[in-house]
Symmetry: C2
Subunit: 151 residues, 2 copies
DNA sequence: ATAAGTACATACATTTTTGTAAGTATCAAA
DNA sequence: TTTGATACTTACAAAAATGTATGTACTTAT
C-alpha cells in the first residue's frame, strides 16, 4: 500500500540501479520505499532508526537483550521519557521485541527482532565508522579553522 | 583533543571489541569517539550525518557531483534553507567538497570527499535496506493493528 | 520510616529543528 | 519589461523534539 509515486523519477537514474533488486517478484518491487520521494512512509522508518537515541538503542541491543534501566545506564544522557518513546517507535516498526514479566517491581526485557538485527548491522557499522573517523574529522576541522583565521 | 571519558566504561564490554582496532597506534585509539558517552563530539557528527536531509544528501552525492539546485530537485521536500544548512554541516565535517565557479549566475558543484564516500557507503546501505524492508515493516504494522483491534 | 530501584505515563516548559518569505546580483528568454 | 534561473542569506514563525518534574504500586535495604 506504500505509494511513493509523487516524484515521477524512475529509479534507473542510479547508474548502478539494476544490480540490487534481483529475484524479487515485480509486485514486491513496486511496494518498495523511495526515500527521495517526499511523502514516502519509509521516511518515518528512517526517522526512527536514525533518531538521536534510536541509533544508540539499536547499537546496544545489538550486543544482547537489555532491561529498560540497563539501557538507560549504558546510553549516556537519555532521559526515561525519550528512551521509552524511542523503544516504542522501534517496537512499532517491528525492530524491537518487548517482553514484560508480570511481576512487581516490573521486569521488562528488550531485544532485537530479526528485522532489528538487520538494521542494527548497518547502524552499528555507521556508528563505529564515525567513532574511528573522529580523529580525521577533528583534524579536518582544525585545519579549516587555522586556514580561515591565519590564511 | 576529543575526550569522551565522562562515562568510565571500558570499551572491552563489547564482546567483539578486540577485532576492530587493529594496526592503529595506541595514541590514535585513545582519541577515538565513544558515542555512548553523552559529551562526546562524535555525537555531533552522527547528528549531521543522520539528520533528516543529511542521509539523503549523502545518498545522492554518492551517485556523483551535483549542483545545488540539482540536489534540491532530486531530494523531494527539502527547502533551500535546509539544503544549504545540511551541506554546510557536512562540509565542516569534511564529508562534502564545495567548488564554486566564480561566474554569474552562480555555479557551485558539490561532491563527496574521500571521508564522505566512506560514510556514504554506510548511509546508503542503511537507506537501501530500509527501502527494501518497507513491505515487511508495513506488514508488521498491519498485523499489530488488527491484533489490537480484533484480538 | 525513609530512600532507592523498577518501568513506565503524563503535563508542562524549553530547546532545537524546520519551514516560509523575502532579499541579493546578474544574465537570458519571453 | 517582467519572469525565471542561479546559490545562497536573513528574519521570523511554526512545528517537532527533548527535558524536567511528578506520580504509580510495590519491594528491598537502611
Amino acid at each position: 500500500m506504500s505509494k511513493c509515486e509523487q516524484s515521477a523519477k524512475p529509479r534507473s537514474q542510479r547508474p548502478d540501479g539494476a544490480a540490487n533488486d534481483r529475484m524479487l517478484p515485480l509486485a514486491e518491487r513496486l511496494r518498495q520505499g523511495d526515500l527521495l520521494a517526499a511523502a514516502c512512509p519509509s521516511r518515518d522508518v528512517l526517522k526512527h532508526v536514525t533518531s538521536r537515541w534510536g541509533v544508540l538503542v539499536l547499537m546496544v541491543l545489538g550486543t544482547g537483550t537489555h532491561r529498560f534501566s540497563a539501557l538507560r545506564r549504558k546510553i549516556g544522557g537519555v532521559s526515561e521519557r525519550m528512551l521509552a518513546q524511542t523503544l516504542q517507535w522501534l517496537e512499532a516498526d517491528g525492530m524491537v521485541a518487548r517482553l514484560a514479566h508480570d511481576v512487581v517491581p516490573p521486569h521488562v526485557e528488550y531485544s532485537l527482532t530479526p528485522l532489528g538485527e538487520a538494521v542494527a548491522v548497518h547502524v552499528t557499522a555507521l556508528a563505529e565508522w564515525i567513532e574511528r573517523a573522529m580523529p580525521a574529522i577533528e583534524a579536518h576541522r582544525r585545519a579549516k579553522a587555522t586556514e580561515t583565521s591565519a590564511g
